[in-house]
Amino acid sequence: MSELAAHGAHAHPPGFAHQFEDMAQQKEAGTLGMWAFLVTEILFFGGMFTAYIIYRSLHLPGFITGSHLLVVKFGAINTAVLICSSLTMALAIRSAQTGKGRGTIIFWLILTMILGATFLGLKFAFEWSKDYAEHIVPGAYFGFQYHPSWGANAPYVQMFMCFYFFMTGLHALHMVVGLGILAVLVGMTAANKFSSQYYTPLEISGLYWHFVDIVWIFLFPLLYLIGGRY
């Protein structure tokens, strides 16, 4: 704060870092840096998507059989839940941009957290537990022992389930991290860190949250709907 006082004539808004020309440049630097990170995330998930595409092209019948073991209802509901959470996240940032009070921002952030937790709750409590009960988790007790009709495709059904658990698992891990970030944001908002001039942490955390949403937008059709359901 003493640095700010030294400037005297022109007061800077709180949150302004002195290496930047103005708030717009500071915000662009933050956004650009976050996108550089998200590009590495695109390639991180992209590696899994590439492996998925290759093995799907080699073993399509096994992948279709595996896909039909998943419950579309859970995937579709979770997609809707995540889209709702993206809307509430966008509205949290908007309420900071328009100078709404702390209460409004925290309201939208908490709502986003509740929706994110709903997603994870559905995944853990209903979907994955059901997968365990039905022995379609890869491993020693994988269900192909009980499904002779899968025949030669059985190893590739198991391979599909590996992709399913690794991809949705990595996605769920990102959701857990996102919930932690949102909790920090609630604390920062409560401590009056943000204003209509400075809300970069909200903005770039929003980018992360929406990115995780986009990953799920692709996982849903690729895992739950491949080969059709007719």
């Binding site: 708030m23 695109i42 080699l58 579309v72 209509s196 059709p221």
Partner: protein, 118 residues
């Protein structure tokens, strides 16, 4: 882009636009689920992926504010997807142009010699 007025450094998207994007995303989810139950032959996956790409563009442009971002940020984002394209295309160009045969694994070739030794 950004204005330097009292509104702060970022573009403020009207609530109506957010709600419209949200409704479009929900409609896309319903559409892709519904279409999965219709037999389109080889077209089920391309249609599902097209819907997913449209949903992604809506999220990226409006929720992630890329429609209002600077050219520099946009170039970085496009580079990211371009690199993803390189990874998928070059990997597939190798995988799909190989002549797949059931060759004996190296281990199966070596195994008789090992048995011979002992």
């Amino acid at each position: 882009m950004s204005d330097h007025g009292e509104h702060g450094p970022g573009h403020i998207v009207p609530v109506g636009v957010y709600v419209l994007v949200f409704l479009a995303l929900m409609a896309g989810t319903a559409l892709t689920t519904w279409i999965a139950y219709i037999n389109l032959g080889p077209w089920n996956t391309p249609v599902a992926l097209t819907i997913a790409v449209c949903k992604m563009l809506l999220v990226v442009l409006f929720f992630m504010h890329v429609k209002y971002a600077t050219g520099l940020t946009r170039v970085v984002i496009i580079c990211g997807f371009f690199w993803l394209g390189i990874m998928i295309t070059l990997s597939l160009s190798d995988e799909l142009t190989r002549h797949w045969e059931l060759n004996p694994a190296p281990w199966n070739v070596i195994l008789p010699f090992i048995h011979h030794l002992f």
